[in-house]
């Protein structure tokens, strides 16, 4: 499965990533992928990723431009985004 991941604000700055295309083998992990599982997967990259995605910072997720919660399922072709709580207005 292929997904696109976007990072914003503090995450983008600290991870030094704004967009990435991620390809995962089409196995049981991919077919049951959720926002939380994807966070945990990415957090294994190194200490910084661990801290940013699974640490104290609250990270919100969006799938295809919709805010979702941690249990939302991710499908092939989805655009996923991670960012801190929003602060506009």
């Amino acid at each position: 499965m292929k997904i696109k991941i976007l990072y914003f604000a503090r995450l983008k700055e600290t991870l030094k990533f704004s967009t990435e295309d991620l390809e995962l083998p089409d196995d049981a992990f991919a077919s049951s992928l959720t926002i939380l599982k994807l966070k945990a997967y990415l957090a294994k990259r190194n200490e910084t990723w661990q801290q940013m995605l699974m640490g104290k910072l609250k990270v919100r997720g969006a799938i295809n431009h919709e805010l979702v919660d941690d249990n939302a399922p991710i499908a092939d072709g989805d655009e996923v985004a991670f960012f801190p709580p929003v602060t506009g207005g």
Partner: protein, 150 residues
């Protein structure tokens, strides 16, 4: 419904007038303007940068206005939000709502602002004397939104 995300400034008076004049049975227009304060949490602010999620932002704002329209009897709404680099006293956001009577317009305008603050993908970073910092989301904003769930 007019939704705009832009770097340039806006003319709030003109936007309000457009809403007023769109229908002859308009009786009320309530508007909110948010602007950059020169002070935040006790520190002097010299600059504010607004980042957003292009593609999602407009959709999120549209969804919020649609929710307000389904809940109150309003005629129309305009939402303009700036992004990029701003200075103190620069305008950040305009929400203006027209309706026949004032109660609906007041509620819808405040509802849109409360949801914008907690659901629209904007992030603020400010420059103060002690350097740059991302602004954290406020619990008071979450509480403000919770009120509407009753």
């Amino acid at each position: 419904m007019a939704i705009r995300v832009q770097t340039q400034d806006f003319d709030a008076g003109l936007e309000i007038k457009l809403l007023r004049n769109a229908r002859k049975d308009t009786g009320a227009v309530v508007s909110f303007i948010g602007q950059v304060r020169d002070l935040n949490e006790g520190d002097k602010v010299s600059q504010l940068t607004l980042e957003h999620y292009p593609g999602m932002t407009e959709k999120a704002l549209e969804a919020i206005v649609t929710k307000a329209q389904s809940r109150w009897d309003i005629f129309d709404a305009t939402v303009i939000h700036r992004v990029g680099t701003l200075q103190p006293t620069d305008q950040i956001v305009l929400v203006a709502v027209s309706s026949a009577h004032r109660g609906e317009a007041f509620k819808a305008c405040e509802f849109i602002m409360d949801y914008l603050k907690t659901e629209a993908p904007f992030w603020k970073k400010e420059v103060t004397d002690s350097g740059e910092r991302w602004i954290d989301a406020k619990h008071t904003d979450d509480n403000a939104r919770e009120r509407w769930l009753e």
